[in-house]
């Protein structure tokens, strides 16, 4: 079997596996009592990840260069990144909800690449002179991984918004450490318990047992000092934040490597080309997200709304720019 036929098998397989994975996660979320479904989903994600990896390796051998230079290859690279980041996010959060939002997107990408993209755009083509550089592998793979991470983070922010609709939420994670403190109502109860114990101790020290009994009668219910666990919303929010926190450095490194490459190849590290500009816009939106978490009075659903809108911005940056015109960054289009 030659490499091209193998690729044809692998891309269809990846799509089929991701489709089943999505169904598993969705029915798992609908019927909570069927606990094995999300586990099957996680296995499906892992299989899809390996299938896409095999597809990309086959491409690499066939084309002789790292396969990220046309739309088909880059879509599958992003799908691979999505499945990989999904597995990280699921492990970090131990929440089976992650798959309900990531699986459909990964499935959609592989379906688009496999079925909608014309055959002519699926073939491996020789590289144009400008792209013949070791920077290609570094710049493009880091950029695409950052898109994948930011997409998963943004999707989890969307899941967070759905889970917390109609609630006021205080965020836990930010770089100045506004989180990590106990809910004030709970804290008052514990403080009251501490105080009454102190009174009781004083009473035991000063008088007889009769006084102690009297104190115990008027006492409020005792609340012992024990950890206040994170809720599902807290967990979704925090893992969304951590995954975006992973995507943001990748995006930064990707943009900088592109700038350095452009400077080495053409003598200008920034030229306001549409793709560059949209990468900067993506960076600015997620920088705004990270800062909004630090702002008093903004904590809650507002940062998650910024992150969720970041999902659209990443897509415009990744594919939307193609519609605007030609350039080194254009993958070509088929309308």
């Amino acid at each position: 079997m030659d490499l091209v036929t193998l690729q044809g098998w692998l891309d269809n397989l990846a799509f089929a596996v991701l489709f089943l994975t999505m169904l598993c996660y969705w029915s798992g979320a609908a019927f909570r009592q069927v606990t094995f479904l999300p586990k099957v989903g996680a296995t499906g994600m892992a299989i899809a990840n390996l299938t896409i990896a095999a597809l990309l390796v086959a491409r690499w051998i066939e084309g002789g260069y790292f396969p990220v230079s046309n739309l088909y290859e880059s879509l599958f690279f992003v799908a691979w990144g999505l499945t990989a980041v999904h597995l990280i996010a699921e492990r970090m959060s131990e929440s089976q909800l992650v798959g309900t939002v990531t699986a459909p997107v990964a499935m959609g990408i592989s379906a688009f690449a496999t079925m909608t993209l014309p055959d002519a755009m699926q073939h491996s083509e020789p590289l144009v002179p400008a792209l013949k550089s070791n920077w290609l592998m570094m710049h493009v793979s880091v950029m695409l991984l950052s898109y994948a991470a930011l997409m998963v983070g943004a999707l989890m922010a969307i899941a967070f918004l759905v889970v917390t609709r109609g609630q006021a939420i205080e965020l836990r994670g930010s770089s100045v450490g506004t989180g990590g403190f106990r809910d004030s109502r709970l804290r008052k109860q514990i403080d009251a318990t501490f105080k009454s114990e102190a009174v009781a101790a004083e009473a035991t020290g000063g008088g007889g047992t009769a006084v102690l009994e009297k104190v115990e009668i008027v006492e409020t219910p005792k609340v012992a000092l024990s950890p206040q666990r994170l809720t599902l919303a807290d967990t979704l929010d925090n893992i969304s934040y951590r995954i975006i926190g992973l995507g943001f450095p990748l995006l930064t490194i990707g943009i900088i490597s592109g700038g350095v490459w452009a400077n080495e190849a053409w003598g200008s590290y920034w030229s306001w080309d549409p793709k560059e500009t949209w990468a900067l816009i993506t960076w600015l939106v997620f920088a705004a997200y990270l800062h909004s978490r630090l702002t008093k009075g903004w904590q809650g659903r507002r940062p998650a709304i910024i992150a969720a809108s970041g999902f659209a911005v990443v897509w415009v940056c990744y594919l939307g720019v193609n519609l605007l015109g030609k350039g080194l960054h254009s993958y070509g289009w088929f309308f």
Binding site: K132, G177, R182, F194, L225, T252, I253, A265, W278, T295
Partner: protein, 445 residues
Amino acid sequence: MMSNFWKGIQRYFKRDLLPLLADLRLAIALLLLIAVFSTSGTVVEQGESLAFYQANYPEDPALFGFLSWKVLLTLGLDHVYRTWWFLSILILFGASLTACTFTRQITALRWFSRPWNFYTQPRQFTKLALSSALGQGSLAQVESTLGQRGYRTFTRDQSLYAQKGVTGRIGPIVVHASMLLILAGAIWGSMTGFFAQELIPGGQTFQIRNIFDAGPWAAAQIPKDWAVKVNRFWIDYTPEGTIDQFYSDLSVVDAMGTELKRDTIHVNKPLRYHGVTLYQADWGIAGVRVRFNNSPVLDLPMAQLETEGKGRIWGGWVPTKPDMSEGVSLVATDLQGTLLVYGIDGQLISTVRKGMSTEVNGITLSIVDLVGSTGLQIKADPGIPMVYLGFGLLMIGVLMSYVSHSQVWALESEGQLYIGGRTNRAQVAFERELLQVIDTMETPS
């Protein structure tokens, strides 16, 4: 009088302006505003001619009911990134970044000089979400468990303080400072750098003259005591006939013509000399070397023909009579060596390859060679070292900023072990870690 005035300005700066500039909400607004304004430059075509905007943005009907070419040009939407309003927002952003770096980031360093804050009262633990009072376990046990998990521990009397991931506190400071460095480098580069373009036929020597963009202090950068000789320009083609790579063999020469440096450049591999960089950017066909019958080799120029954007064609005229009353036209589309020969009546006479000859008007015309000219982009940017330093620090800074700074407090008091902690980023991972630590206390091994 004067000193009062200055004091007033100082007070205004410290009390009103600085807190306003350092306000996070302003920073977020600016980030989003720059993002929104930047999109306009990706939607509206940049740097086109007046006729282009007149044709594509008519006054009636105006796009979205208002965006006619007049409105577009008045707002400067044809060159968004150089308009006064875009640059002012960038300057405001730079000011906000500076204010933030000095008032928030640098002061955050004070955190390090703070004495270790031990908790000495059980009630101090209640404010922490992750805190617990245990009947078992000892401070020594907490210390060794946390030590194994990479915490630095400090103890005093019956209390313990442990922390890890201070890197995560320094990261944002590095990020903000490095962005200031990049901004400064970019401004410095635009003031002292220049941009030039030259299209030079193979074999010729040139000095950098065709400068199309230079900063006000760029004069010192423009080379005067050396020139560049283009030894040869050629293109490698793939077997399918598409371009594989462009090459220029260049020599840097001094006034006497002595070679100072020689290198072959291609796209992605420029030549650098004394702060000036020459990039392979474009190419053309400069001329053709021909022989008539047994004549010596003659150089005839070729020029690019107007095709209205339908591919690139070069043409040249070859006289076949000494009085130039008759001749043929040679047409080429690339440097692969095939030439089309057209007669004076516009009819295709023949095609001829490099190194071959053809019969025209009773004369044997031999094509010796096609001479390519190389299009070079020439640039000096003294701001680059600063920008690159900023790039490097920014990458390190954002990576450092991923680290979560975790702190744990413990106290032994009245037979109880109090333990509690918090972290600034990885809440979920920290919760898991601290619960495990608590678990090891509750299940003595």
